[in-house]
C-alpha cells in the first residue's frame, strides 16, 4: 500500500483581509490553513472600517466563496470567519521559524486570554464589575473599555479576554463568573506546528502621533485625530450617534474639518521617502462621509501634496467628491496646527489657486497617517532568515511582488507589499494562495478529500417528526439561565415534536455519544439541536447524523443562547425561556417542512482558455500549465508578447519586459500543456463553469475552430494612447513618451543635442472627456526618460508639466531622484492647460505657473507627451462574446471593484492586467497569477461540489414566462431550447431568492427557504405565547 501523503498545510500569518482572502482561497483548494493574528481578533484594519468607497458602505461578505459556499461562513464577516479547512488562532505570535523549502517548523506563542472562550457564557457580568477603565484600542482611545473586554463589538462568539497590563488582579470578575471561565494566572502557551508553506500577511505598522517627532507640531489637541480614528468617529459602533460628528475634546459638533495628507509619508528627512498609496482615497472617502454623516453644511478641506487617485475608478470618485459633494482640495503642505484658547485649531495655508495666504480655524483635523514598513520587514527578515533589499524591505523575486527571494515556499501579500487598497489586498491574497498552491503541487502533498459518506435516503415522504436536543453547554448556563425543564415541557406539547432531550455538552466526546444514542433509538426523522456556537459544530454534527442514517440536511443547529437573549439585557428566567420557546418553535416549523438537500456536483473539463498572449496572458497560462492544466492561449496578433513584451525594453524599476517576454515565449512553446492559437479572436462562448465552448475565428484564413474548456482568463492588455493635442502629428519635435524612449534606445534621437525638453503629463487623461482615469505608468515613464536625457546630457534642461505626480509607493524614490538630478516639475491645472505654439519649427509651451503666479514661456527643442494607456479596442467584441460588460472607459468590468477584482459576475470567467485597468508590470503578473489560481481551484478536480441550498424549478408549475431569468442577478437561470424548460446553474446560483419572489406560480423555489417553511415560521412567531400561562 502506498504511503499516505500528508495534507498540504499553509500558515497564513496575519488575519487582515489579504490574509483572510489567501486563507479562504487555499481552503477552497483543499489545503489546511493555520490563520494566525498577533492582535486579539481577526479582520485587521477593515474591522474598523464601516465604509469603503465607492459605495461608501460595506461589502466585506462578498469575499466569501461563491461556489461550495456551504463549507464556510454564510454571515457577516464582522462577526467572525468560519471555514472547515481553516484553523483560526488570534492573539498568537510567531516566535521562530525553522527549516526550509516545504518543511517549516513554526513556533507559535499563544497568548493567554485569561478567559476561556469554550467555557465563558458571555453574560458579561464580569465586565460590569471590573473597576479598571482604559482607552479602547478598537475605537482608537475615543471610548473606554474595561480590563476584561470584548475586542470587537460584532464578534460572535464574543471572545472576551483580559488585558493583562491593565488588570489589577482584584478578582471581582472571578467572583461573579458562574462558569469558572476566568483564570487570572493563565500562562501563554507555546506550540510547534509543521507547515509546508508560509504566507505573510501581517500588514505593517501605521504612523502614529505618539511615537514620532515630526507629528508634534500637528498633534496639539485631542481634536487632531488619525484617519483611522476618524473612521471610528463615523461608525455607529464607535462614537457616532446620528446627525452630528462630535469632536473628541468636548463633544461639540465638528463643522469645519480638515485633512492633512502625507503624515509620516513622503518625508525624506525622516527617511520615509515613499508614498503610502491609499491615503488620498481614504481622505476623499472620509470627506464625503463627513458630509453625509454630519450634513451638507459641514465644510471639508483636504490639504494635499499630490492627489494620487491612480486606481480604477479613483479619478471618477475624486471628481464626484469635488463636484457633487463640495469637498475642497487645496495643494499645500500645512506646517502645523495651533491650538487656540477656545479649543479651535488654527491653520495657516497658501492656496495656489488664488495665490493668497489664509488663516483659518477648524474644529477637527484629521491626519492621513501613512505606513511605517521597515520595522515589520526587519522583524520578518530576522525570523525567516530572509534578505532585505536596499530599501529595507523583504526582497522579492525580480518580477514578483509575492515570492520572497531565495526562499521557496515563503510569500507575502497585502500591505506588506506597500499599503494596499481593498482591491489590491484581494488580488494579492489570491495570488499568494496561487503561488503557495503552485509550490505545494511540486511537493507531492495531498489535499483534503471530502469524507465520502453516502448521504442516506431521506425520510422525506414520511410525516415530519422532530427530535429536539438542547445542549446545556456543561457549566455554561448559570442559575439564572434557561429553565430547561420548562422549555422541554413546552416544546413537547408542540405539534410535530416527537421528543426533547437535554444533553450536557454536545460538542464534547460524551455529548457526541449521547447524540449517537438518541439518533439510534429515535422514532423521529429530523433533529433540531440548540447549542452555543452553531458554526463550530455544524459539520461535525452533520457527520454524526449521517452515520446514524440521517440525511444531513434533516439536522439543523441553532444558537440557543443567542436567540434566547437577543434584545434582552436583563436575564429573568421566564422571559428567556419564553423567548427561547418561541424561537425554537419557528425553527421547528422551518425544519418540519424542509426537504432533503443534495449537493449537486458539476463535471469539470479540466482545460483553461486564456485570452491575450501578452506577458500577463503567458504568465497565467504558464502558471496553470506547470500545475498540469491544459491551456489554450489565444492571441489576436501574429506573435505573443503584447505591447509591453514587444515594445518596452526597460522599466524604471529595472525590469526588462522584452527580454522577459522572449523568455516566456520559449517556455510557452516548450510546454506541452499549452496550445497557442495566433491570429484569432474568440467570437462566441457558451456554457458554464466546467464546460464552456468557444468559437475561435481566424482572421487570415477565415476559418473557425471550437474549443472546449472549463474556465476563461481574459488578459487583453492595452497600448499607448493616441492624441492630437499640443500639436502632435504636425511636427517631428512633438512626440510621445514611447517614441522618445524608442528613439533614444535606437540612437535616432540624440539626447546630447538637446537643450530644453518639455514634457506634458496627463495628455487626454484624468478628464471627463477622454480617458477618465489615471494610466498609472506615465509619470514613471516620463521620469525614466527625463533621467535618461540627464544621464546622457547633464546640461539639458528638462521640464515636466504635471497635474499630480503619481509616484505612489516606492516609485516616490524615482521622483526624488529626478528632482535631485535637476529635473524641474511644474504644476498645471485642468482648467488652465498649457498652450503650445510652433515658432520657427520649434514648439513653445506657455503655461501659468502656480508658484510664481506668472505666465511662463518655454521654448523647447522637443515636446514629449504622456498620452496614457488605452484599452484594446477588441475589448468590446470580447465582452459581447462572453456576455460581460465594459466600464465607461472600455476596460472590462469586474464583479465588484473592491472585493472581487479579478472575477466576473459569471463564475468561471476571470480577468487580469490591463484588461482590468492600467497597471505596472509587477501588478499585471500578480493579477495574472491570482486569476490562474481562481481558475485552478475549479480546474484541479474532475468535479466541483456546489451547494445544497440553491433555487430549483418545479417544472410542472412552470409556465416558461422566463421572468426568473431576467431577475436573477447572477445569470444562473436560462431557458433550455432543446428540453423547453428553465434550468438552474448550481455554481452560479447563490440562493438569494429573487426568482422565488418573482415567480407567480411558485415554480421557482429556494430549497430550504420555501414558502411553506417561511409561512409556518411566521405562524409560529405570531402564535400566542402559551408559555405565559404555564409560567404564571
Amino acid at each position: 500500500m502506498a504511503e499516505k501523503k500528508p495534507t498540504g498545510t499553509v500558515l497564513v500569518a496575519g488575519a487582515g483581509i489579504s490574509g483572510i482572502k489567501a486563507a479562504i482561497e487555499l481552503a477552497e483548494g483543499g489545503y489546511k490553513v493555520l490563520l494566525t493574528d498577533a492582535s486579539t481578533q481577526i479582520g485587521g484594519i477593515l474591522a474598523k472600517l464601516d465604509y469603503q468607497f465607492p459605495t461608501d458602505h460595506c461589502g466585506m461578505c462578498r469575499m466569501l466563496p461563491m461556489v461550495g459556499r456551504e463549507y464556510g461562513s454564510q454571515y457577516c464577516m464582522r462577526k467572525s470567519l468560519f471555514h472547515e479547512n481553516i484553523e483560526i488562532l488570534p492573539f498568537t505570535e510567531i516566535t521562530s521559524v525553522q527549516g526550509d523549502g516545504g518543511n517549516y517548523k513554526v513556533e507559535l506563542l499563544k497568548k493567554a486570554r485569561l478567559v476561556d472562550p469554550a467555557v465563558c457564557n458571555e453574560m458579561g457580568e464580569c465586565i460590569d464589575v471590573c473597576p479598571v477603565e482604559v482607552p479602547d484600542e478598537f475605537n482608537h482611545g475615543l471610548t473606554k473599555r474595561k480590563a476584561i473586554y470584548q475586542a470587537i463589538p460584532h464578534n460572535t462568539p464574543k471572545m472576551l479576554l483580559i488585558d493583562r497590563e491593565a488588570c489589577t488582579k482584584c478578582g471581582e470578575c472571578v467572583k461573579v463568573c458562574t462558569t469558572n471561565a476566568i483564570n487570572l494566572d493563565a500562562q501563554d502557551e507555546v506550540e510547534t506546528r509543521e507547515v509546508h508553506s508560509i504566507v505573510l500577511a501581517s500588514g505593517v505598522k501605521l504612523y502614529n502621533t505618539r511615537e514620532f517627532e515630526d507629528a508634534k507640531s500637528y498633534a496639539v489637541s485631542p481634536d487632531v485625530v488619525t484617519s483611522l480614528a476618524f473612521e471610528r468617529m463615523m461608525s455607529s459602533s464607535g462614537t457616532y450617534e446620528g446627525g452630528v460628528i462630535k469632536r473628541p475634546s468636548d463633544g461639540k459638533p465638528a463643522k469645519n474639518i480638515a485633512w492633512i495628507q502625507c503624515m509620516g509619508s513622503r518625508n525624506r528627512r525622516q527617511k520615509r521617502d515613499y508614498c503610502s498609496s491609499i491615503c488620498c482615497m481614504f481622505a476623499l472617502k472620509e470627506a464625503v462621509l463627513a458630509k453625509e454623516k454630519g450634513g451638507p453644511e459641514v465644510d471639508t478641506t483636504i490639504f494635499y501634496m499630490d492627489m494620487r487617485t491612480f486606481g480604477k475608478g479613483f479619478q471618477q470618485y475624486r471628481d464626484k467628491a469635488v463636484d457633487e459633494h463640495g469637498v475642497k482640495l487645496i495643494r499645500c503642505r500645512v506646517q502645523g496646527v495651533m491650538l487656540k484658547p477656545d479649543g479651535s485649531l488654527e491653520m495657516r495655508y497658501f492656496d495656489p489657486e488664488t495665490n493668497e495666504f489664509f488663516v483659518k480655524d477648524y474644529d477637527l483635523v484629521v491626519m492621513s497617517t501613512g505606513q511605517i514598513p521597515f520595522e515589520t520587514h526587519k522583524k520578518w527578515a530576522d525570523l525567516l532568515n530572509a534578505p532585505l533589499d536596499e530599501r529595507g524591505l523583504l526582497a522579492t523575486e525580480q518580477y514578483s511582488k509575492i515570492k520572497i527571494a531565495g526562499k521557496p515556499g515563503l510569500f507575502i501579500c497585502g500591505s506588506l507589499m506597500g499599503l494596499t487598497d481593498v482591491s489590491e489586498a484581494m488580488s494579492s491574497g489570491i495570488a499568494a494562495a496561487g503561488e503557495a498552491t503552485n509550490f505545494l503541487t511540486t511537493l507531492g502533498v495531498d489535499i483534503l478529500k471530502e469524507e465520502e459518506i453516502a448521504e442516506p435516503t431521506a425520510h422525506e415522504r414520511e410525516n415530519s417528526l422532530v427530535s429536539v436536543a438542547l445542549c446545556k453547554c456543561g457549566e455554561k448556563v448559570g442559575a439564572d439561565g434557561i429553565d430547561y425543564e420548562l422549555l422541554s415541557a413546552e416544546l413537547l406539547r408542540y405539534r410535530g415534536v416527537g421528543e426533547v432531550n437535554v444533553i450536557d455538552s454536545i460538542c464534547k466526546a460524551e455529548g457526541e455519544t449521547t447524540t449517537n444514542d438518541i439518533l439510534g433509538k429515535t422514532k423521529c426523522n429530523r433533529l433540531l439541536v440548540g447549542a452555543c456556537q452553531p458554526f463550530m459544530y455544524r459539520r461535525k454534527l452533520k457527520n454524526v447524523a449521517r452515520k446514524a442514517g440521517f440525511n444531513s440536511s434533516m439536522v439543523e443547529i441553532f444558537d440557543l443562547f443567542g436567540i434566547a437573549r437577543r434584545g434582552m439585557v436583563e436575564p429573568s428566567v421566564g422571559d428567556w425561556t419564553l423567548r427561547a420557546a418561541r424561537e425554537v418553535k419557528s425553527d421547528i416549523e422551518r425544519l418540519k417542512y424542509k426537504p432533503a438537500l443534495h449537493v449537486s456536483t458539476l463535471p469539470i473539463n479540466q482545460t483553461a482558455l486564456v485570452v491575450g498572449g501578452g506577458i500577463g496572458g503567458m504568465q497565467a497560462a504558464l502558471s496553470l500549465a506547470t500545475r498540469g492544466v491544459p491551456v489554450h492561449l489565444v492571441e489576436k496578433e501574429a506573435h505573443l508578447g503584447g505591447y509591453l513584451g514587444n515594445q518596452v525594453e526597460h522599466t524604471i524599476d529595472g525590469l526588462a519586459p522584452v527580454a522577459m517576454a522572449s523568455d516566456m515565449k520559449l517556455k510557452v512553446f516548450e510546454n506541452k500543456n499549452i496550445t497557442v492559437h495566433l491570429n484569432c479572436e474568440v467570437e462566441k462562448t457558451v456554457g458554464t463553469l466546467g464546460s464552456f465552448e468557444s468559437k475561435l475565428h481566424f482572421k487570415d484564413t477565415n476559418e473557425n475552430t471550437y474549443l472546449h474548456h472549463g474556465a476563461v482568463i481574459m488578459v487583453t492588455g492595452g497600448h499607448e494612447g493616441a492624441t492630437t493635442e499640443y500639436g502632435y502629428g504636425t511636427s517631428d519635435k512633438v512626440l510621445t513618451q514611447a517614441e522618445l524612449k524608442k528613439g533614444m534606445a535606437s540612437g535616432n534621437i540624440d539626447a546630447g543635442g538637446l537643450e530644453n525638453v518639455v514634457m506634458i503629463q496627463c495628455v487626454g487623461s484624468r478628464q471627463k472627456e477622454g480617458r477618465h482615469y489615471c494610466s498609472r505608468i506615465c509619470c514613471m515613464w516620463a521620469i525614466a526618460n527625463a533621467l535618461k536625457i540627464k544621464e546622457v546630457n547633464p546640461e539639458a534642461r528638462v521640464f515636466i508639466l504635471y497635474r499630480d505626480v503619481m509616484t505612489y509607493g516606492f516609485f516616490e524614490q524615482y521622483y526624488t531622484k529626478a528632482r535631485t538630478a535637476g529635473i524641474i516639475f511644474m504644476n498645471y491645472s485642468l482648467e488652465n492647460k498649457p498652450q503650445v505654439e510652433m515658432v520657427e519649427g520649434n514648439p513653445v509651451v506657455k503655461f501659468m505657473d502656480t508658484v510664481l503666479n506668472t505666465e511662463i514661456e518655454l521654448p523647447a527643442d522637443m515636446l514629449v507627451l504622456s498620452t496614457g494607456v488605452d484599452p484594446e479596442e477588441s475589448n468590446q467584441r470580447l465582452a459581447d462574446a462572453f456576455g460581460v460588460t465594459l466600464t465607461e472607459d472600455r476596460f472590462l468590468a469586474e464583479a465588484d471593484s473592491k472585493w472581487r477584482p479579478i472575477e466576473f459576475q459569471k463564475v468561471g470567467l476571470y480577468l487580469a492586467g490591463t484588461a482590468h485597468s492600467p497597471m505596472p508590470l509587477k501588478s499585471v503578473i500578480m493579477q495574472a497569477e491570482a486569476a490562474a489560481q481562481k481558475a485552478y481551484t475549479y480546474l484541479s478536480g474532475r468535479e466541483v461540489h456546489t451547494a445544497g441550498v440553491i433555487s430549483k424549478v418545479k417544472d410542472a408549475l412552470c409556465i416558461r414566462c422566463q421572468r426568473c431569468i431576467n431577475i436573477c442577478p447572477y445569470g444562473a437561470r436560462s431557458y433550455d431550447e432543446v428540453e423547453k424548460c428553465i434550468v438552474v446553474d448550481p455554481a452560479e446560483c447563490q440562493a438569494c431568492g429573487a426568482c422565488a419572489v418573482e415567480c407567480q406560480n411558485n415554480a421557482a423555489e429556494v430549497t430550504g427557504w420555501s414558502d411553506k417553511q417561511l409561512m409556518a415560521a411566521i405562524d409560529a412567531k405570531l402564535m400566542d405565547d402559551l408559555l405565559m400561562s404555564t409560567a404564571e
Partner: protein, 142 residues
C-alpha cells in the same frame, strides 16, 4: 390602550440587518420584545405574500430590514425589495393597513444602535395606532 403590546414581524436580511440585531444584543442595547425576527437571506427574498400572511395572522406591523443600497450581498436584492415594498404599500392601504404599519429600513451591520432606534420607534408608533384592523383575519378566513 396602554397595555396593548403590538406584534411586529421583522424580516431581517442575513448579512447586514441580522448582524445589526446581534450587535445590538451583544452591545447590550435592549430593544422591545415586540419584534419577532425572521431571518431571511436577503430583503429581496421577502415575498409580498409573507407580508400579507403576517398581517392576516395578527401582526400589527411588518418591518423589512436590508443592506444599504449598493451593499447587498446579492448585488441588488435590496433594490428589488424597495420596488416591491412601494407597490405593496399602496396595495395594503386599500385594506386599511397604512404605511405607518409597514416599514422598510436599511440597517448596516454596524448600526446596532439604529436597529434599536427603529425597533423602539416602530413599537411606540404602533402602540399609539392600536391593533391592526386585520387582527386575526387569517384565523377567521382559515
Amino acid at each position: 390602550m396602554s397595555d396593548f403590546e403590538p406584534k411586529i414581524v421583522a424580516f431581517f436580511c442575513n448579512w447586514c440587518t441580522f448582524t445589526a440585531a446581534d450587535l445590538a444584543g451583544t452591545s447590550r442595547l435592549s430593544y422591545p420584545p415586540n419584534l419577532k425576527i425572521i431571518r431571511v437571506m436577503c430583503s429581496g427574498m421577502v415575498d409580498p405574500k409573507f407580508v400579507l400572511k403576517a398581517f392576516l395572522n395578527g401582526a400589527d406591523g411588518v418591518l423589512i430590514g436590508g443592506c444599504w443600497p449598493g451593499d447587498c450581498h446579492y448585488i441588488n436584492g435590496n433594490f428589488k425589495a424597495r420596488r416591491r415594498v412601494a407597490l405593496l404599500t399602496e396595495l395594503l392601504k386599500q385594506y386599511g393597513i397604512g404605511e405607518e404599519r409597514f416599514w422598510l429600513r436599511w440597517i448596516a451591520a454596524s448600526e446596532g444602535n439604529m436597529l434599536k432606534e427603529v425597533a423602539d420607534e416602530m413599537t411606540v408608533k404602533l402602540k399609539q395606532l392600536g391593533p391592526s384592523p386585520l387582527q386575526n383575519m387569517g384565523q377567521m378566513v382559515g
